[in-house]
């Protein structure tokens, strides 16, 4: 069976489905057998999801609205080029 350290090296590929079948199976087995790694994987996945929702949020108000002066400056800037 893989050690936790070996599993950690394969983790990104394992979670993204980029491993050959045998390695994938070894990783899967490790997660089933190792409580610490199972917890780590669960939290790791949550972190990825939290990161995505922190920036890509269609329901958020528009904090990225652009000041009108900046829009005008961009238009003027183009005319000078």
């Amino acid at each position: 069976m893989l050690t936790c350290k070996e599993f950690d090296e394969f983790m990104t590929d394992y979670l993204e489905g980029g491993l050959p079948v045998w390695q994938k199976y070894m990783c899967w087995l490790h997660v089933k057998m190792c409580r610490e790694c199972a917890y780590f994987v669960r939290q790791y996945r949550r972190v990825v999801a939290l990161g995505q929702s922190a920036f890509n949020s269609p329901d958020a108000p528009l904090p990225d609205s652009v000041p009108e002066e900046l829009v005008q400056a961009a238009i003027a800037h183009r005319n000078t080029k």
Partner: protein
């Protein structure tokens, strides 16, 4: 693991509608990571709108299973989804409008440029702020991006959507700006990475205590801010890989090409960035879990 609410309960019908709606936006224009992000934004909205412990539990299960929220959305009853997808707000032009815009830009029309700046301004500004973390640099990048788009519009070959192409141009401008800029003082992440004993067994690493109260953490916008602040704490080498891969949805190969590094380096940096972020957010997640488990 998956929490299955009864679809006949009114609040769940409301949220199942939102999830389905998010997924439909996802299928139209987003890549897989952003589809998941759509669904997750729904869950964060849920935290903001509801004090119902069942709903919070529901959200927590979805957050906990990551991409599986999409599977759940497909299992929800169809009657809760309106057929009119036009209800979904969208800031950028439709494909038809995009074609017209590209046409007018190629003809050098002033009105086309103004439409471009007004339609894509928020998207460009959001990317610039995310990558540059400085309002002044983001404003410079904003101007440079639109001029670059206008000057290189003939190189746009319509193999991808205009919006996607615009995003690529913006990110390139941000990276150029970052390379020119003096490197900021960065915090080492070595102590945030997983530890192993002599036999290769994982050793638990103590995370710092969480300062925010649970009330604040259940506020979706506050939680998003906490996550963003922690991502911004990462050294640029790691932060950029994380943004390109997890937020902007580029593949490992694309991210390697954009950053001019090897694919193996992208994989290593991404894993280290996620692990460090996990270390930083662990107390936040534990606090949310302890509240939901009550």
């Amino acid at each position: 693991m998956l929490y299955r609410p009864s679809a006949t309960e009114a609040p769940f019908r409301q949220f199942s509608f939102i999830i389905k709606q998010s997924c439909q936006i996802g299928r139209k224009g987003y890549r897989a990571p952003n589809r998941t992000a759509c669904a997750h934004s729904v869950l964060l909205r849920l935290h903001r709108q509801s004090s119902d412990i069942e709903l919070i539990k529901f959200a927590r299960c979805l957050i906990g299973v990551g991409g599986n929220s999409m599977n759940l959305a497909h299992e929800l009853p169809n009657e809760s989804v309106p057929s009119d997808e036009s209800e979904v707000a969208c800031n950028v032009p439709t494909l038809d409008a995009e074609e017209k815009l590209v046409h007018s830009l190629r003809n050098g029309e002033d009105s086309g440029f103004e439409t471009l700046v007004r339609s894509y301004g928020p998207q460009v500004m959001a990317i610039a702020r995310r990558y540059l973390q400085s309002e002044a640099d983001a404003a410079d990048c904003f101007q440079d991006t639109f001029v670059a788009v206008f000057q290189s519009i003939d190189t746009y070959q319509q193999r991808s959507s205009f919006r996607h192409w615009m995003r690529g141009v913006t990110i390139n401008k941000c990276l150029m700006k970052l390379r020119k800029r003096k490197r900021r003082r960065e915090e080492s992440i070595e102590h945030m990475l997983p530890l192993f004993d002599d036999r290769g067994k994982r050793v638990e690493v103590a995370s710092p205590r969480q300062k925010a109260g649970i009330g604040e953490l259940l506020d979706a916008e506050h939680l998003r801010r906490v996550v963003r602040e922690n991502i911004n704490r990462l050294p640029d080498d790691y932060r950029l890989v994380l943004l390109l891969r997890d937020i902007d949805g580029y593949t490992t190969r694309e991210a390697a090409s954009i950053l001019g590094i090897k694919i193996s380096a992208v994989k290593t940096r991404l894993h280290r960035a996620r692990s460090a972020l996990k270390f930083m957010l662990e107390p936040v997640m534990e606090q949310i879990d302890s509240h939901v488990d009550v």
